[in-house]
C-alpha cells in the first residue's frame, strides 16, 4: 500500500497544527460558529445529536494492521471502545470531545492517517472496488490512480469551497463494484481498440434528493491527462454549479441543466487551456504510484490441492462450509481466497466494530494476509489474501469474536446509515429498522433461498445509506414530526446501474418487517427458475409488489 514520504507526512502534520490552532481559536471565541463550520467539516468533524462525530479518512478503503490497532486504541482512549465503517469506506467515531480532536488527529498522523476532506463542500475520499488488485475480473489495479487523485485533491487550493460535496470513484473491472455511475465523477479503467488501458470518465451521477445516473463525458482518455481533465470538470462545476439552493447544488443538476453535450463542451474548453500543462501526469509518477501496489510475496501454492483440502474440511464442518460459500471469493492467485468479514450481525449496528475486534483483525491480517485490510462501502471489512489452507483456523478465530456471520451479499447484509440515533440531519431512525428486519429474517435457509439481495437504509434524503441503489431501499421521512419510511424497489449499484422506484405511501416503523416480508414473498411467488430479486422485479415491474403490499396493509 502507499507509504508516506517526508512530503506527505509534512502536509498531514501541518494540517494537524493548523486545525489545533483553529480549534483553540474557536474555543476561545475568536472564530464564529459559522466560520468554524467549514473548517471543522473539512477535517471530518460534525456536531451531532449526542456528541461530535469524527470521520477519519481511509483512502480507497485500504488499512494496514498498525492503523487498525491505532484505531482500536483511539476508540478506547477518546471514545466508547468502538468505531463505525461508513458507506464511503471511512471510519467514524461517534463520541469524541471537540477539544480532544486535535490530539486524535495527531495520533492518526503518526500512522499516516488523517481526516482531511471527509466532509464539507470539497472533494471527498476517493473510493474503489474492495477487491482491487486481487479480483479475477480486473483489467488493472485502480488503486494507484486513486492515490494520485488523493494527492491531487488533498488541500486543492481552488476546490475547497465548491457548491457542494464532490465524490469520485474509480474501478478497474467491467462488473463495477465501486458504483461509479452513482458518483459525481466515476472513472473506469478501460482498454481502447488498440488494447491500451485508459480512462472512461463519467460525470453527474449521484444520490441524495434527485438521484441520477452519470453520463459518459469522455469515452477514453489517456491516463496522463487524468488530473488535467478532472481539474477541467471541477472548474466548470466550481464556476457554474448552483449555490443558491443546496439541494440543487450537486454536479448532477448542472449536467442536467446544461445538457450533457454542452457540459462536455464546457469541460473541453477549460481543458484546452490546461491540457499538457505541468499537471499532466508523467510516466514516472504513474510507475511510482503503481510500485506501491505491486503484488505481495505470494507463496507458490498448488491451488488444486488447497481446494481439495478445503472441500474436505467443509464437508466435515458444514457451518464452516457455509461461511466459505457466503463470505469468501476466488482469488487471482492459486491457493488464496478473498475473505469478507461481515459487520452485520443481528443486534449490532451495521458497520460497527469494537476495539477488540479491530485488534483481532490486525492480528489476523498480520498472520494471514500481509498485514493489510480493506473497508467496503457495504460497511464490511475484507482480508484479501488469505491462504486457503489457513481458512479453517482463521474462521475459528473469527467465530470466537462474533465476526463469522455468513451473510455477505444477502438480505441481512444491510447497508444502513447511523440515522436518527446519531445524525443531526436525520428525519428518522434507521438502525432499529435494520435490526427489526435482521431479527425477522433469522432463518438463514430462507435468506439464502432469496439469493443475492441488497437492502439499503438511509435516515434522510442525503442517502448516506445508499437507499436509491439498493434492490430494496428504505428511506426515513418526516411526516408532521412523526417518523415514517418510504420503500423503493429496483435500484442497482452495479454495471446495470439503476435507481429504485418508490413503491407508494410510506409506512410506520413497526410495520417495516411485514412490508419487507410481503415484498419478498411476492418475489418468491413470481420468480422463474434462477431469477434473482432484481431480475424478477425488472421483468414484472413494481405493480405486483405494490398490490400485495398495500392490499395486506389494508
Amino acid at each position: 500500500m502507499y507509504v508516506y514520504d517526508q512530503y506527505d507526512q509534512k502536509i498531514v502534520d501541518e494540517r494537524v497544527s493548523q486545525f489545533r490552532d483553529q480549534t483553540n481559536r474557536f474555543l476561545e471565541g475568536k472564530i464564529t460558529e459559522a466560520e468554524f463550520l467549514p473548517l471543522r467539516l473539512q477535517n471530518g468533524l460534525y456536531l451531532q445529536r449526542q456528541a461530535p462525530m469524527l470521520r477519519i479518512a481511509v483512502p480507497y478503503g485500504l488499512l494496514n494492521s498498525l492503523q487498525l490497532r491505532k484505531l482500536a486504541d483511539i476508540s478506547r482512549k477518546y471514545d466508547k471502545g468502538y468505531a463505525h465503517i461508513s458507506t464511503r469506506q471511512n471510519v467514524q467515531l461517534n463520541w469524541p470531545a471537540l477539544a480532544e480532536v486535535p490530539d486524535i488527529l495527531e495520533e492518526l498522523a503518526a500512522v499516516e492517517m488523517h481526516a482531511i476532506q471527509t466532509s464539507g463542500n470539497c472533494i471527498r475520499n476517493t473510493t474503489t472496488d474492495q477487491f482491487a488488485g486481487v479480483a479475477c475480473d480486473e483489467l488493472e489495479d485502480p488503486r494507484p490512480y486513486c492515490e494520485i487523485i488523493r494527492q491531487w485533491s488533498t488541500l486543492h487550493p481552488e476546490f475547497a469551497f465548491l457548491p457542494r460535496k464532490f465524490k469520485i470513484a474509480v474501478c478497474g473491472t467491467e462488473q463495477d463494484r465501486a458504483a461509479i455511475h452513482h458518483h459525481d465523477i466515476g472513472i473506469e479503467l478501460l482498454a481502447n481498440a488498440q488494447g491500451e488501458v485508459g480512462l472512461k470518465i463519467i460525470a453527474g451521477g449521484g444520490q441524495g434528493r434527485t438521484p441520477a445516473i452519470g453520463s459518459v463525458i469522455c469515452e477514453w482518455l489517456d491516463k496522463k491527462h487524468m488530473l488535467t481533465y478532472l481539474e477541467a470538470i471541477l472548474r466548470v462545476y466550481n464556476q457554474h454549479g448552483r449555490r443558491d439552493n443546496k439541494y440543487k447544488a450537486r454536479i448532477k443538476i448542472l449536467v442536467k441543466a446544461m445538457g450533457v453535450d454542452a457540459f462536455r463542451d464546457a469541460v473541453a474548453a477549460e481543458w484546452t487551456a490546461i491540457k499538457d500543462g505541468p499537471t499532466t501526469l508523467t510516466n514516472e509518477e504513474i510507475l511510482r504510484a503503481r510500485a506501491f501496489f505491486k503484488l505481495p510475496d505470494y507463496e507458490i501454492l498448488d491451488g488444486e490441492v488447497a481446494s481439495a483440502q478445503l472441500t474436505e474440511q467443509t464437508v466435515q464442518n458444514p457451518i464452516f462450509g457455509n461461511w466459505i460459500k457466503r463470505n469468501t471469493e476466488n482469488h487471482r492467485t492459486p491457493g488464496y481466497r478473498i475473505v469478507t468479514i461481515s459487520l452485520k450481525a443481528t443486534g449490532f449496528a451495521p458497520g460497527d466494530i469494537s476495539a477488540e475486534q479491530l485488534e483481532l483483525l490486525a492480528d489476523l491480517s498480520d498472520t494471514y494476509s500481509f498485514g493489510e485490510a480493506r473497508s467496503t462501502h457495504q460497511q464490511n471489512l475484507v482480508l484479501a489474501d488469505v491462504p486457503t489452507a489457513c481458512l479453517l483456523e482463521f474462521w475459528e478465530r473469527l467465530q470466537a469474536a462474533g465476526l463469522a456471520t455468513p451473510n455477505i451479499g444477502y438480505l441481512t447484509d444491510i447497508i444502513c446509515c447511523p440515522g436518527g440515533d446519531y445524525c443531526a440531519l436525520a428525519n428518522a431512525k434507521s438502525l432499529p429498522v435494520a435490526e427489526a428486519i435482521q431479527s425477522r429474517f433469522e432463518d438463514l435457509d430462507y435468506v439464502y433461498d432469496l439469493g443475492p439481495l441488497e437492502l439499503n437504509i438511509s435516515g434522510c434524503m442525503n442517502a448516506c445509506g445508499h437507499h436509491h441503489i439498493g434492490h430494496i431501499g428504505v428511506l426515513g421521512v418526516d411526516k408532521k414530526g412523526q417518523e415514517f419510511y418510504q420503500v423503493c424497489l429496483g435500484g442497482s449499484q452495479a454495471k446495470d446501474a439503476s435507481i429504485g422506484k418508490i413503491l407508494g405511501p410510506s409506512f410506520q416503523q413497526a410495520d417495516m418487517p411485514d412490508v419487507i416480508d410481503t415484498i419478498l414473498s411476492t418475489y418468491v411467488a413470481l420468480r422463474q427458475e434462477e431469477e434473482t430479486f432484481l431480475d424478477t422485479y425488472r421483468r414484472v415491474g413494481i405493480e405486483p409488489f405494490k398490490e400485495r403490499v398495500y392490499a395486506s396493509a389494508n
Binding site: 501541518e14 493548523q18 472564530i31 491531487w152 488541500l155 487550493p157 481552488e158 469551497f161 449555490r243
Partner: protein, 154 residues
Amino acid sequence: MPLLIKNGCITEDTWQPVNQDSGHATHDQVATLEQWQQLADKNGSAVQLKPGESPAALYDYLDQIALVLVNFPAFADGRGFSYARDLRERGYSGELRAGGHFIRDQLTYLKRCGFDAFQLADDKALEDALTSLEDFSEHYQASIDQPLPLFRRR
C-alpha cells in the same frame, strides 16, 4: 486609509473603494464591472468581480488593468478561487486582491490561486492573519506560486 496585506506585508490601500451607486468610477477608484466596461481608457484601471461575473470580460485588457478585486460576499462561495487562477493563467500580472468576507484560514488557498493582496473586513485582524499565510510549507498541486506539482519535484 484602510489597510491590507500586500505581498506578505501590511500596507495602506491607495485605491478608493467601489461606489455602486455612481454612474462611473473615477480613475483612482475600483470600478464595478459595469462601470469598468464604460471606461474609455482602461490603462491603469481597477475593476471588481463579484461571483457570477466571469473574468472573460477582462481577457482583452489583461495587460492594461492595474487591479482586479475579487469580492467574496460569503466566504463559502468559492467561485473567486477559479476566477483568480484563470486570470493568472492567462497572463494577468497586476494586483489581484481578495476582498469581502473571506476568512484568514483561506489565505493559503487564495495565495496559491494567485491572489497577492488581501483586504479583510476587519483590518485589526491583519496581523494575526499574516501567520495563516504560513500554515503550509508544502503542497501537492501545481499552483500560481508553485507551477510544478509535487510529483514533478519529489
